[in-house]
């Protein structure tokens, strides 16, 4: 018995590795697509990219302009410019940001951890609240609790996250004074873990509740669907208790659609954090993007789009692996 289990595990590990390899190969054309779209946007910009950049950074020295022209290869034909652009990005060369006075990649890199923290905490909250609410609604279907979950889900699904964030600030920071208005740590404070968590709570709620609403609805319908399947009836017929069947059999299978949606929505979660960061002055990619957008710092804007897509692809691969772990039957294409 033990040997069977161990071969089972190793074959699953092998399958996971295969999946990982296939996903990485599939990611290459996706990234190329993102880069080409980026390049098209640069070409579409009214006036030359260089003019805008020099105007923004008040570069008037002809030698510098000539150098910039050469760096960006603006005399080359378009196809060669595209190839050079791809080549540069493949080496993580996103250009230089005069505003931060550092390479674009470094400016993004500094801000990435705060955004990832906000994303992870929001998704965790959304999954915990959404799955729990969905399970309660499906177990107590057509009762007060079911209606309560439905109404709350409808509310949070329709509320714009930035507005929800502001309302949370009004209630918890301005009126009650329990939580900080914004930022990631108390200025002059030690910047301990507790302090950061204290600052993280409101942005997490503002971003996460929207997704919690989606997961609650999906989880509810998925639970009700799975509960009607034959294997659940068999488990009940075997004499297992209702709770045991719900947790061990229904829940695990009902989670699959939630995981699928989670994968599809990674991009929206990242994008949503951009707005939330602006509301809470959270020092992440969103704040950097907003600053770059207002100052027309194109290299940073485009760099964020490329790296943001990369984060989404990586998160999607992680979600696929989780999916496989939850449902070993499935051979992922």
């Amino acid at each position: 018995m033990a040997s069977i289990t161990s071969t089972g595990t190793s074959s699953r590990q092998l399958a996971a590795l295969k999946l990982l390899r296939r996903r990485l190969i599939q990611a290459v054309p996706l990234m190329l697509g993102v880069v080409v779209i980026n390049f098209c946007l640069i070409q579409l910009a009214p006036g030359s990219f260089l003019e805008l950049m020099t105007a923004e950074n008040q570069v008037s020295d002809p030698a510098t302009v000539a150098l910039l022209r050469k760096t960006y290869g603006l005399e080359d034909p378009v196809w060669l410019q595209l190839l050079k652009y791809i080549w540069a990005l493949a080496h993580f060369d996103f250009g230089f940001s005069y505003r931060q006075n550092m390479p674009v990649i470094d400016a993004i890199w500094i801000n990435l951890p705060a955004t990832l923290l906000l994303m992870v905490s929001s998704i965790t909250l959304a999954l915990a609240v959404g799955v729990a609410a969905g399970v309660v609604a499906s177990v107590k279907v057509r009762t007060f609790w079911d209606s309560l979950v439905s109404v709350a889900a409808m509310f949070f699904f329709a509320a714009p996250s930035f507005w929800l964030g502001i309302m949370l600030i009004v209630l918890f920071s301005v009126k009650l004074g329990w939580l900080p208005v914004g930022g990631m740590a108390t200025i002059g404070g030690g910047g301990g873990v507790l302090d950061i968590l204290h600052h993280l709570l409101l942005p997490t709620l503002a971003l996460g509740l929207f997704y919690a609403a989606i997961y609650a609805r999906v989880m509810r319908s998925s639970m009700l669907e799975v509960a009607q399947l034959d294997f659940v009836r068999t488990a009940r017929a075997k004499g297992l208790s209702r709770n045991k069947v719900t947790i061990a059999h229904v829940l695990r299978n009902a989670l699959l659609p939630v995981v699928t949606i989670l994968g599809v929505q990674m991009g929206t979660v990242l994008a949503g954090s951009v707005v939330i960061e602006s509301v809470f002055s959270w020092p992440g990619i969103g704040s950097l993007l907003f600053d770059s957008v207002s100052s027309r710092n194109y290299p940073v804007v485009l760099g964020i789009m490329v790296l943001g897509s990369l984060v989404v692809i990586a998160a999607n691969i992680a979600v696929d692996l989780v999916y496989m772990w939850l449902d070993p039957r499935i051979e992922i294409r």
């Binding site: 579409l44 699904f157 714009p160 009700l224 993007l289 957008v293």
Partner: protein
């Protein structure tokens, strides 16, 4: 043109039995009327200063929803904002539907490598974080109404394309389509004249949900201060009121409630249409 059986009366009956959907439809009608008749109720420029700044709702009967930091009538701005918000939502959804239906129909009908390319493209547009994409387009091409509409359309078409593709896959080998082929009808005519009308109902349901999503997108763009400067949309009102949340948080709260109610109603209508189309899925 072959039409698959589609009982209209029964559909209307099922939709109107859904109380949430009916309520949503009525409220959206009110919002739409407000948007259409805004110049009648508030003929003057809503961005004009009319009273004392920061009057709370109810404080002065002349301004039922109060005034903002400059002394502008919030009710007038909300009613006029409905125009901008609904206009952008509907147009962006139309753009998304046009792109999505075209891509989905071609992918589903022809299959093979065409399908493969179309679906990879859809995946690509789902990979780029949507709002970041919208902001990038708007900031590079300029904050005009047209650019915002197109940008939102570009990030919203993928779900419609997938749905259209699935419908086309299910319909393309049905007898009535085979009959058309046997008659020598061209692919274009079969797609547009025969399959599309039968594939549209679920796609239209999805479009109504895309309107809701587009309104949320637009409000976020305007909230960040990147909306069309000539339009006072609801998102911009929230953004304008942000500085005053300590003294007058109602300036932020009111336009947000308007956005939320509108999106909520559109979602209710979408759900109602969906249930009416697929009665089997109801109560799920």
């Amino acid at each position: 043109m072959a039409r698959l059986e589609f009982p209209r009366l029964e559909f209307v009956g099922r939709f109107s039995r859904n109380r949430g959907a009916l309520l949503g439809a009525c409220l959206i009608l009110v919002v739409a009327l407000a948007a259409l008749l805004a110049p009648l109720f508030f003929p003057a420029d809503p961005l004009r200063i009319v009273g004392t700044p920061e009057l709370w709702p109810g404080e002065d009967p002349a301004f039922p929803l109060g005034t903002d930091s400059l002394g502008r009538d919030i009710l007038a701005m909300i009613v006029h904002g409905a125009r901008a918000t609904l206009l952008i939502g509907l147009c962006a959804s139309a753009v998304a539907t046009l792109i999505g239906v075209t891509v989905g129909a071609i992918a589903g009908y022809f299959g093979g490598w065409v399908d493969e390319v179309a679906m990879r493209a859809a995946e690509l547009f789902q990979t780029i974080p949507n709002l970041i994409f919208v902001l990038t387009i708007v900031v590079i091409l300029g904050s005009t109404l047209t650019n915002i509409v197109i940008a939102i359309g570009i990030v919203s078409w993928t779900s419609i394309a997938r749905m259209t593709r699935a419908e086309f896959l299910a319909l393309r080998d049905r007898e009535f389509v085979q009959a058309c082929r046997a008659m020598g009808m061209g692919n274009g005519r079969i797609i547009v004249g025969e399959i599309l009308p039968n594939a549209l109902p679920p796609v239209i349901v999805l479009s109504s949900l895309v309107v809701a999503g587009a309104i949320l997108f637009e409000s976020a763009v305007s909230f960040l201060g990147l909306g069309d400067p000539n339009l006072a949309s609801w998102g911009r009102l929230v953004g304008d009121g942000r500085q005053l949340i300590r003294s007058s948080w109602y300036i932020c709260a009111i336009p947000g409630v308007a956005i939320m109610l509108t999106v909520l109603c559109l979602n209710l209508i979408g759900d109602g249409l969906n249930d009416a189309l697929n009665p089997k899925l109801r109560d799920r």
